[in-house]
């Protein structure tokens, strides 16, 4: 089980408090699809993803970004229990959605970049280290049901 210090817990919460899911979620999701275009393979039903402009305007992309960030909220509130918190979601992504688990790492990268854009120097090196440790734990939990 991942061990968290008091500083790490409060840092993760402090960063998360500054995240507006409705604002940041769509940006993060658009970045994943634009920066790592092979991830578009999972979103055949989302309509037009052919250009950057289309992705940035796509309502389904925006809505899905919010869904994903809302799920991240669960991790922030269950830091000591992430594997169990995400067991069902991991199972879903593995067996039903057939998502390559490396995608979780790419998503984590875009989450961090988008938050850095928003927080700027407030995402200090120490905060970055803590936030990335948190996201690695999330990625690990999301991959946990894969065989």
């Amino acid at each position: 089980m991942v061990k968290w210090t008091e500083l790490e817990r409060s840092t993760v919460k402090a960063i998360w408090e500054k995240v507006d899911i409705d604002e940041i979620g769509p940006q993060i999701w658009a970045r994943v699809l634009i920066v790592y275009p092979w991830t578009e393979r999972y979103f055949g039903s989302f309509g037009d993803l052919f250009t950057i402009t289309a992705i940035l305007k796509n309502d389904k992309v925006a809505a899905h970004g919010k869904v994903v960030l809302k799920a991240l909220d669960k991790a922030v509130n269950n830091m000591d229990n992430m594997k169990r918190t995400y067991a069902d979601l991991s199972q879903l992504h593995f067996q039903k959605l057939e998502v390559d688990p490396d995608s979780f790492r790419l998503l984590a990268d875009c989450i961090t970049i988008t938050i850095a854009c928003k927080l700027k120097s407030a995402l200090s090196p120490q905060s970055q280290a803590i936030w990335q440790k948190f996201l690695y734990a999330v990625v690990d939990a999301m991959s946990s049901q894969y065989r």
Binding site: Q27, A30, R31, I34, V35, I52, I55, L56, D109, T112, I113, T114, A116, C117, K118, L119, K120, S121, L123, P125, Q126, Q128, A129, Q132
Partner: protein, 148 residues
């Protein structure tokens, strides 16, 4: 060979034009040493790296960050030939410095984060991020190329 679209070339040049290597380089290297502390093993000669404050205030870290970031200029100016451009540097990092090539990838990550934090979402847009991270991925690959 890597293919660059005109939009990507433009985005990379535009971002590079805004980057102050003396500002971003030191920040990126300090973050590398703080976020991935095992990377400190390569910098024993740099003096005090024992705390985050020490790393961030260390003049050798700052100087080296500037050097490394400045080295990206060669890649920006030789987008179609990055592998060749970095062949000697790759050999040096492998045979002389014995640097694990995974460090290039995490340093690139820190550089991207510093650029994102500096310029925010209106300059470091999704397409700018795409071009920039593709550029750094090519640099990382070139630096790891002469290993083995």
């Amino acid at each position: 060979m890597v293919e660059w679209t005109d939009a990507e070339r433009k985005a990379i040049a535009s971002l590079w034009g805004k980057i102050d290597v003396g500002e971003i380089g030191p920040q990126a290297l300090a973050r590398l040493l703080i976020v991935y502390p095992w990377a400190q093993r390569y910098f024993k000669a740099f003096g005090d790296l024992s705390t985050n404050a020490a790393i961030m205030g260390n003049p050798k870290v700052a100087q080296h960050g500037k050097t490394v970031m400045g080295g990206l200029e060669n890649a920006v100016k030789n987008l179609d030939n990055i592998k060749q451009t970095y062949a000697k540097l790759s050999v040096m990092h492998s045979e002389k410095l014995h640097v694990d090539p995974d460090n290039f990838r995490v340093l690139a990550e820190c550089i991207s984060l510093c650029v994102a934090a500096k310029f925010g979402p209106s300059v470091f847009t999704a397409d700018a991020q795409e071009a920039w991270q593709k550029f750094l991925a090519v640099v990382v690959s070139a630096l790891g190329r002469q290993y083995h």
